[in-house]
Amino acid sequence: MRLFDIAMMALHNLRRRPFRTALNLFGITLGTIIILLTAAGGDGVKQALYSLIENSGYAREIQVFANYERAAEPTEAEWTITGDMSDERRQRMEQALKQSLIDKRNYSSDYKMLDTEALTRIEEFENVKAVVPNVTLWFRLRNDDFSQMLSGQAASPLSIDLSKRLLAGDILQSDDAEGVLIHELLAYKMGYVTDEEVKRLVGKEITAEFRGGGRGFRGLAYAINSKEDWDSEQRFDDETKFLGAMKKLIGDVDLSTLTDEQKELIRSLFSDSQKDELPPEALHSRDFKIRGVFYGSKKNPFDLFRNYFGEPESQVLFHPLAATDFQVNVSQHDAFYSAAVSVGSFHDVEQVETKIEELGFRTMSVHSLFENIDNQIARVCRIIYFIALAVLVITAIGISNTLIISVLERTPEFGIMKSLGAKNRHILLLMLFEGAVLGFIAAGLALVFSYIIAKLGHRILRSYVEGRVDETVAGELFAFSVPSIALAFGAAIVICCIAGILPAWRAARLDPIVAMHRN
């Protein structure tokens, strides 16, 4: 028999039972669609995610964190347990002792903060464009007829993301320590409403008032500060007066009835403040020029990144130089817990990150998160593949069942064919072909439907993502590759053929005389 004739007969037989064929096709098509979309989606979404991240400012940013200096390992003599006891108990206690020593040393060892020296060294690394310590400033903004308590942050002069969100003016230039950017809401509160008015705001002067004071006094101020009405100017004034009073009280501590020991304790606790050049209650003010008006970013779906690479959401953004200067002035403390390092391109991140780590700091970058994303996507894909496989196997059992019923129904027919000279392998091929044709049609249908679903899915997902980030999604979210199509076709056909093996074998081995008389 010719393969073509066998295929035609198989097709003819499938057409003879349209309903059963349709049901089988549905199952196998569904499984194949899942496989196709998973393969395509896994690839495409990963690529899209990569390009999204690479295009965003996040990709060129490294967050650097203070790190504690690793304490020396405790020596054996320190954790050895002596005495009469079982080995098991001894080991257990030695383990516990050793761990407690390590924890204690780590806890009490010095924190390696990002001081000016460290920041300068990082800034001098090749490909580093800017180093911005993460500081949040707390101040009162004053204008001729405007006054409000606000928080402010340092913004990288190079922020690409920020440059896309300007209503008026420009981002801060690298040497412009005088400049600030303000949020559109603040502009509105200041009375600048229309677009024209907002534009006129650029170049205007504003004054920021900070309160100084050493750590001891600041701590005291925080301690009495309740969370509610934190932005009340009344509270700011009250605190300032309170700190003045405290300063005086501590200066007059000798006049009190406290014991010498108590006096000494109070002096040492507030010792920082006594070395202050500026008293804690003093307000320093500085003038700034508004360079631009920005608006907030859309809600970002990559909350994972946002936690580490979140853009400043304060209403006033300062140049990092000004921000650090203030921070140092206010807290008498020139070291920072964390800083954002901007590099020239995504590809420089890894190398700069390594250098920073060699300085002894912890780092975090999108680069190091990429691997994480890869693993996540791969895991989800594995689960979906497993489901698809389950669908296919269940369908295969259904197909097997259908084909066995078909063999039973067609037993006389096979008997007649054999009596006319058909060989066992002809009958075997005929049944296997029915399975294969089913698989082939299903794979074709799956390809068409997957393509349609992918097109729709791409549109929906794209508008979903773009509605949430300030980037455009580049490329197709579902990337059908030749190997993935081959895989889907192969899976569908192989599984259908496997489903056909048992029925085919049963049909092939029929005795023609017996089979014919089943009529």
């Binding site: 010719r2 009596s419 000279g421 023609p512 009529n519």
Partner: protein, 226 residues
């Protein structure tokens, strides 16, 4: 040419063994037309199944058209059925889902003949049995006699040298029986086929064959030559 020597055919095992053919010796010259008659259960169909290569003798030597059937493997046996014999059954054995033409076409498909060649040969065969106008009809739409004509066309379409018929008219009325028998005889004559006709109807056998083999309980009891 058929040569059967000491053919035995048993079904099943002791103690329920059935002897269907016992010590059968028979020679049929090429082109001869013979009949096998006998009562029901005498082993006629069993013998015919052996001749058509659908079954194998339990012992004995069976040589047909130079092929020793008892020595053929399964595939060679299928090939023998495909090329050497055409069989006509009492119950027609047409495939209900295929049209008359498609049923006739089946042996050619199995042989691997290309579709364009098949069309003409099938039409020819249908013409020979006088059914050219019913080619596209399904078996359910044909009368018993017409169905048997289709079966005859299917049996001869592969140009066999041996035509076997097992009670070909058993399901037909006397008028149709005559028509079908005449058709078979005519075709066998024209193509110089060796014809083996099985019938329990002695009269019919006498009328249409040169030689009559009588079977009784699996044994060939007499051979009457005209």
């Amino acid at each position: 040419m058929i040569q059967a020597e000491q053919i035995f055919k048993y079904f099943g095992n002791e103690p329920s063994r059935v002897t269907a053919v016992e010590d059968l010796n028979l020679t049929v010259e090429a082109g001869a037309k013979i009949s096998i008659v006998g009562r029901s259960g005498s082993g006629k169909t069993t013998l015919l199944n052996l001749l058509s290569g659908l079954d194998r003798p339990t012992s004995g030597r069976l040589v047909i058209e130079g092929r020793e059937l008892s020595r053929l493997n399964q595939n060679e046996m299928a090939d023998y059925r495909l090329r050497c014999v055409g069989v006509v059954f009492q119950s027609f054995q047409l495939i209900p889902q295929r049209t008359a033409a498609q049923n006739v076409e089946l042996p050619l498909i199995i042989r691997g003949m290309p579709a364009n060649k098949r069309v003409r040969i099938v039409a020819d065969a249908l013409l020979r049995v006088g059914l050219e106008h019913r080619a596209s009809h399904f078996p359910y739409a044909l009368s018993g006699g017409e169905q048997q004509r289709v079966a005859i066309a299917r049996a001869i379409v592969k140009r066999p040298s041996l035509l076997l018929a097992d009670e070909p008219t058993g399901n037909l009325d006397s008028q149709t029986t005559t028509e079908i028998m005449q058709l078979i005889m005519q075709i066998a004559e024209e193509s110089n086929l060796t014809l083996v006709l099985v019938s329990h109807d002695h009269e019919l056998a006498v009328k249409y064959s040169e030689r009559i083999v009588t079977m009784c309980d699996g044994r060939m009891s007499e051979v009457i030559a005209k």
